[in-house]
């Protein structure tokens, strides 16, 4: 019986596993493999870590790389500092009972942007903040200081539904007897939220933070949709995803460089792997919920 169980397990996971290996794991390994070669000549030549050396020492490529990394950190920070508190606020409002029967309606409305295509989101926002026909007089996307925060906030607007739904589910899971006990003890809404609900959902924040990290460091689409593969002004909205795209596929004025592109991809993967690994290895286990 147990053996049959195991066989079923294998049979049912195999299709997903095959797709995952074929379309995610193999390309990943393949691109790491490419990053060790020089393919510019007629035959691919093994060059060890030369591509990595070039990426970090050539004045132009290293400047672009660090610029993209710093921009990406800013992109991540804005998500973390704006999207998560906003998601918490919305989730708290949704579970507060003040919305009565329209809770479902608001939940859906707030989640809808998440399902939209980034191309549409980028297009709509670009029109809204267009200095010619939009609501804002200032060229938000045109100056180096405001362009990246503007794009980040568009992305926050779109994806705020995700932390909201995580926290909403966690808040719903708070046992009602605890809340009733609090009410009997005379705790108001504010106290109940911060002293009872918040500590119970706190472990969710670690998970949301690491997911946000992974999403933003794999970010590409919104920036590309708005600003193309050499995102300006002066590369101020260039993040790692667009840097990879430009290096691997080339842009109008830049020839495609397969092995350097693969190198950039591998570095991005390592950046994500190290932090995610550290999170799950060191931090995640310590984030325990209160025993009730």
């Amino acid at each position: 019986m147990r053996r049959a169980h195991y066989r079923y397990f294998l049979a049912f996971t195999l299709p997903a596993l095959a797709v995952y290996v074929l379309f995610a794991a193999l390309p990943l390994l393949n691109s790491m493999y490419y990053s060790l070669f020089d393919t510019d000549g007629d035959v691919a030549r093994f060059v060890g870590l030369d591509n990595y050396h070039y990426l970090f020492t050539n004045p132009t490529t290293s400047e672009r790389f660090w610029n993209a990394l710093v921009n990406n950190l800013e992109f991540f920070a804005i998500h973390l500092l704006v999207e998560v508190p906003l998601g918490l606020l919305l989730a708290a409002l949704l579970t507060s009972g003040r919305l009565r029967r329209s809770t479902g309606l608001y939940r859906t409305l707030l989640f809808i942007p998440t399902t939209l295509s980034v191309v549409i989101v980028g297009f709509i926002w670009r029109l809204i903040i267009n200095p010619l026909w939009g609501l804002v007089d200032y060229p938000l996307l045109g100056t180096e200081t405001t362009a990246l925060p503007t794009i980040s906030l568009m992305s926050v607007w779109q994806y705020v539904g995700i932390p909201m739904i995580f926290l909403y589910a966690a808040l719903l899971a708070v046992p009602s007897d605890v809340l009733e006990a609090a009410r009997v003890e005379g705790a108001g809404g504010w106290t109940t939220f911060w002293r009872i609900k918040f500590p119970l959902i706190a472990p969710q924040f670690g998970l949301i933070a690491i997911l946000t990290y992974i999403w933003t460091f794999n970010g590409f689409d919104l920036v590309f949709a708005l600003n193309g593969s050499a995102p300006g002004p002066n590369y101020s909205t260039d993040i790692l995803g667009t840097l990879f795209y430009r290096t691997f596929f080339g842009s109008s004025g830049q020839l495609a460089d397969l092995d350097l592109g693969a190198t950039v991809a591998s570095v991005i993967f390592l950046i994500i792997l190290v932090i995610t690994g550290a999170y799950f290895g060191l931090l995640h286990r310590r984030l325990k919920s209160y025993e009730l």
């Binding site: 995610a24 393949n30 691109s31 060229p139 997911l211 590409f220």
Partner: protein, 426 residues
């Protein structure tokens, strides 16, 4: 879920490698009839080739069947490379201009065209973008695009303005429109930096760096970007700055076109490919060429080679492929092609008549003008940092952060000297 996108970029990268290896050039079918495939990046032209151009060819060449098989423009280079390297690939390859094609020639993708009579239909300058390092031509030019200025004739009439022919006249026209205050003088935004270079600097600049003389000088290393001629060109571009519309730093190319098409701006520096987007409704549009640097000075027009076709060295039907290629040099093909695609222009010696009025006006700009392609794309962008990308960047900084023409050209020269051997000698 977004989480799944974790390795989308890598998957996309691998997909190119995986799929491109397995699209063979189908041949066969009925005996005595040869099927050729023509690879291209212009997916949008599929219907035109299938319904108009190829039937015209097959009518006179019943034994050859040509199949147009395009790939998305972003994937085209990678697809062709992996196909040809893998021993398949189309019989006829559409050639990118300059550096990409030069690397393909080096890899032996094409049959040499030396001494073929079909070359006689073109000037050496027209063949140059697709020549190898030895100067031999490998691809036959199909079409080029031009850059110039669209202007709103009604606004010019209303404000009693003349079409400018020199930079001074151009600036006084801009000033007159600005002083009047009713219209934006120039529909130019700097959110998309490519068009600042392609439709701005590379269009008005050749009058200062003297077209091919300056361009070849940079390529050979006898001239520097910091030379007075180039600085003067950047200054001429800088002189537009007071006439940019409100919020121009975040206006995109489509905003510029709309601003002009809605009749709210008088002049739009643009490329010929935009003809259909600009001439909408009953807007009264005309075209004028880049102004000369001084009164009576030489006129220059930017003619950018866009595509050519070459015979694949791996083709099994080279004779038939050459027959088709020779046909693309005939006035029959050239006039068919450019009239189906207004905004594209024949590079052949034989003049072609354009049924589209604006296209004809654009073609007329070439009369009596010296032609030159975009400054930064030949050789100068085949290293890091690519010259062309750097030009985009500094032009954007000139408009958004007041970078001076002197500093802009100095920065470009520094970038070029970092890797381009001919610029490193002195």
């Amino acid at each position: 879920m977004r989480a799944f996108r974790a390795s989308v970029a890598l998957v996309a990268a691998a997909a190119v490698v995986l799929t491109s290896g397995c699209s063979p050039s189908a041949s066969g079918g009925d005996p005595g009839k040869v099927t050729l495939t023509l690879g291209s990046w212009r997916t949008e032209d599929l219907a035109m080739w299938q319904d108009e151009i190829l039937p015209a060819f097959e009518k006179t060449h019943p034994t050859i069947d040509v199949k147009f098989s395009p790939t998305n423009t972003n994937e085209y280079n990678a697809a062709i490379q992996s196909q040809v390297d893998g021993g398949t690939g189309p019989d006829l390859i559409t050639c990118r201009p300059y550096d990409v094609n030069r690397s393909w020639i080096k890899k032996g993708y094409f049959e040499k065209l030396d001494g073929k009579p079909m070359l006689d239909a073109f000037d050496p300058l027209a063949l140059d973008p697709w020549a190898g390092d030895d100067g031999s031509p490998y691809c036959l030019p199909t079409a080029a695009v031009l850059a110039g200025f669209f202007y709103n004739k009604d606004i010019f009439t209303e404000l009693n303005l003349q079409v400018p022919t020199t930079q001074d006249e151009f600036l006084s026209v801009l000033k007159a429109i600005k002083d009047n205050g009713k219209y934006a003088p120039l529909a130019v935004g700097s959110a998309e930096s490519w068009q600042l270079a392609y439709n701005g600097l590379y269009s008005i600049g050749p009058a200062y760096w003297k077209g091919e003389e300056g361009r070849q000088g940079l390529i050979k290393g006898t001239k520097k970007v910091t030379d007075p001629d180039f600085v003067a060109a950047f200054s001429a571009f800088d002189a537009w700055k007071p006439y940019l519309p409100k919020g121009s730093a975040s206006l995109k190319y489509s905003d510029m076109t709309q601003l002009f098409a809605l009749g709210k701006a008088a002049i739009l520096p643009d490329g010929s490919w935009d003809i259909n987007q600009v001439a909408v409704g009953n807007l009264n549009v005309g075209v004028f060429g880049p102004p000369a640097a001084t009164t009576g000075g030489e006129r220059y027009v930017q003619e950018m080679p866009d595509m050519a076709i070459g015979v694949s060295a791996a083709s099994k039907h080279k004779a038939e492929a050459e027959t088709f290629l020779a046909w693309t040099a005939t006035p029959e093909f050239l006039s068919l092609y450019v009239n189906k695609l207004p905004g594209f222009f024949s590079m052949g010696k034989e003049p072609v008549t354009y049924t589209n009025k604006l296209a004809q006006e654009f073609a007329d700009l070439k009369q009596g003008a010296k032609l030159t392609p975009r400054l930064g794309l030949d050789r100068l962008s085949a290293g890091t940092p690519p010259f062309d990308d750097e030009v985009w960047r500094v032009l954007q900084l000139m408009y958004t952060k007041d970078l001076s023409p002197q500093d802009a050209t100095a920065e470009l020269q520094k970038g070029l000297s970092a890797w381009y051997a001919p610029q490193q000698q002195k």
